[in-house]
Structures are given as C-alpha cells and as structure tokens.
C-alpha cells in the first residue's frame, strides 16, 4: 500500500459512513498501518502493539458515527489513538508493583540516532527491492502478508527476500567492522 493522504482517508471514511464496505475496508487497513506505526514510534513493545491496534480499530468502529464529514480525519483519528494509548498506560500503572523494571532496562535496547543513521546507511547499500522489504518489515512493522499484497509477490517470496537481505546485511556489517 502506498502513502495514504488525508484526502484518501476522508473519502474512504465518508464512503463508509454511507455504507460502502469496500471504502471501509480500505479505511480500516490504513488505520491499522497508521496506528501500528504511531504506537511503535511511541516505544510500545511489539507484542503489545497488535493488541492496542485492535483496540483502536474497535474504538474507531464504535466512534465512527461521531465523525463530522466537514472536519479532517487525522485529528479525529489521532485523538482516538492517543486516548487508547493513555488508557493502556493507565492500565499498566495499576500493575506497577509487580514489574521488575531493572530487568526490563537491562534487557531492552533502544537504538540511538547514530544507530539509526548506520542502519539507514546499510539499508541503502541493498538492492531497492530488498531495501523496501526490510524497511516495511523491520522499520514500519508491516506484516509479511501486507508486504506481499503491496508488492504483488507471494508471502514465501517476501520471507526469502527478507532472509537473503538480512544475510547480505550481516556480511556487509562484518566487512565494515573488519575495515574498522
């Protein structure tokens, strides 16, 4: 799926509110990707993201009647996503006592700016198809199925390309560290 604009979202949601199921499917697929990307960018752990995305989808479905067709979609949508995120933090805060944060801190890894630059640099060395697959899979958090639909190739082909790209990257990183 290519980049989604405010106009696309508005058209799809307006169509959905008139009962167009196809438009609604496109809208919800776009919401899935936006919510997933947003939540990942907020540092939510990957295993929690999918649950939250589903909560967002259900909330959007319940709240869709409140959408004003004359208003933009994104502020409405992000208000719902942020509400769900805040709700998630509220739930988490109730379970603070039982969490071992020292252990989490020791086991977690958050890439810094230099790491990101390095990863980008390494990705740019790959062929464009492999680059696209790896970015979609590892950076944007898309599923294999979404990538296969987006690129028009089979799911197993996506997995194979991703595997080869990672192997190639490992080799390149090995080379570059040898140079250093």
């Amino acid at each position: 799926m290519s980049r989604v604009s405010e106009k696309d979202l508005h058209d799809w949601l307006s169509g959905a509110l008139s009962g167009d199921q196809n438009a609604y499917l496109r809208f919800l697929e776009a919401v899935t990707r936006i919510a997933r990307g947003f939540l990942l960018s907020r540092g939510i752990r990957r295993q929690e993201v999918e649950d939250l995305v589903q909560e967002v989808l259900i909330s959007v479905h319940k709240a869709k009647d409140s959408f004003d067709r004359k208003a933009p979609v994104l502020p409405w949508l992000f208000a719902i996503i942020q509400y769900r995120l805040a709700d998630n933090f509220r739930r988490m805060s109730r379970n603070l006592a039982g969490t071992n944060y020292v252990e989490i801190e020791e086991n977690s890894y958050t890439p810094n700016h230099e790491d990101r630059l390095f990863a980008n640099q390494m990705l740019e060395n790959l062929p464009s198809r492999d680059q696209k697959i790896l970015r979609a899979l590892k950076v944007e958090g898309q599923s294999v199925r979404e990538i296969s639909l987006d690129m028009g190739i089979s799911e197993s082909a996506v997995k194979v390309y991703a595997f080869r790209a990672i192997r190639l990257l490992r080799a390149k990183i090995g080379d570059s560290s040898d140079e250093n």
């Binding site: 959905a16 199921q21 609604y24 919800l28 899935t32 589903q54 009647d65 409140s66 502020p75 208000a79």
Partner: protein, 213 residues
C-alpha cells in the same frame, strides 16, 4: 483474533449512519432542558413577584450569568463528545468565562447586601432549595449524559465536569424562579454551594461512565 480477521468482522458489521453534529446536540439539550425547566417551575409555582423582579438588575444579571453558564457548558460537553486533538478558542475560553461569571455573580450579590449574614444559612426551609436544585437539574443531566455517551468523548473528565455544570446551572435557574428568598447569604449557601458540591462530588464518578469499554 488476528487484526486482519477483526478488520473483516468490522467491515461486515458496517451499517449506514446519520451523523448528528455537536451543534445539533447542544441545541437539542438547550431546548429539552429549557422546556423541562419551565414545566417543573410551573408545577412548583413561579415566585409571585417574578414579573417585577425580572426587570431588576440584581436579579436578572445573575440569572443571565447562570443561563450563560448552562449554555457555555452545554457547548463544551457536546463539543467534547466528538474525538478531537485541537484545542480551540471555545474550549480554552469557556471555562474561564464561566469562572468569571460566577465571580461577578457572587460579588454583585454580596456587595448589594453588605456582606455575609450567617444566621440565615441553616434555616430549615432552605433545605428545600437544595432539593429543588437536584430536581431541576436531574433530567437535564441525564439528557446531557446520554448525549455525551452517544458520542465518543476522549476527555471524559472535562465532559463530565461540563455536563454537571450545565445541568446544575439550569437547576439553579429553576430554584431562582420559584424561591422568594433573595438574601445573598441564602443564595450562596443554598443555590450556589449545592451546585459546586454536586459538581465536585460527582465529576469523577460521571467521568468513569464516559470511559470507553
């Protein structure tokens, strides 16, 4: 359940809907609540000197302040029944306008009477004003609650505060129309204080009912 399956189910569940704007909700609330106010006040009996009092600034201005408070809060709670990120000028300014209207209202009432008179505070008959305020405010509150609940409030506390405030202000107007005691001490203790107490006591509880499942 996988996300793709959920999307499929939600799409299958789609029904065409008719959108009700927050302006329509606000207008509906003001209309229904005003009608209820008049009917209940008629049932209790308007104060006998109302036709004269309505032209006195010391009576009319606080009444207008309460009406503005009710309408202002109604605008805010219906506005907040729609998810939104942007804080508009309306959202920013209305709570302050409300606060200032209260300050003006109390200041005017007290200055015109030369200060507080505590002897009238606990007069047994005064309790009926607090009871009437609850009665006048009950139906407007349930209508407000239903309007917010039928939307999707992402700021439940603020929506709760303003739905209680709007209904309470309307209740205070109702009491003002039937109560013949104009002593500022009485107004403060039995017309204003119950409203503040109700808002403070119930705002958290109401907010929890506005949370999404």
């Amino acid at each position: 359940m996988k996300t793709e399956e959920l999307v499929g189910n939600l799409v299958h569940d789609l029904r065409p809907t008719r959108h009700v704007t927050w302006r329509m909700k606000a207008a509906f609330w003001i209309m229904v609540s005003s009608l209820y106010l008049v009917v209940v006040a008629y049932f209790f009996g308007f104060r006998l000197d109302l036709s004269k009092k309505i032209y006195e600034a010391s009576f009319a201005i606080p009444l207008l302040a309460l009406a503005s408070l009710a309408v202002g809060s109604a605008i805010v709670f219906t506005f907040l029944s729609v998810p939104r990120l942007e804080i508009t000028r309306v959202q920013k300014s209305v709570p302050w306008i409300i606060v200032w209207l209260w300050v003006v209202y109390l200041g005017m009432s007290l200055s015109s009477s030369g200060g507080l008179h505590f002897h009238g505070f606990l007069h047994p008959i005064s309790w009926t004003c607090a009871r009437d305020l609850l009665l006048f405010g009950a139906v407007p509150f349930f209508v407000a609650w239903a309007l917010v609940k039928s939307g999707a409030p992402t700021q439940p506390r603020m929506a709760s505060f303003h739905s209680l405030m709007a209904s309470g202000a309307l209740g205070a107007i109702g009491v003002q129309l039937i109560c013949a005691n104009d002593s500022p001490s009485h107004l403060l203790a039995w017309h204003v204080l119950p409203l503040i107490v109700i808002v403070m006591l119930f705002r958290k509880l109401v907010a929890t009912t506005f949370r999404w499942a």
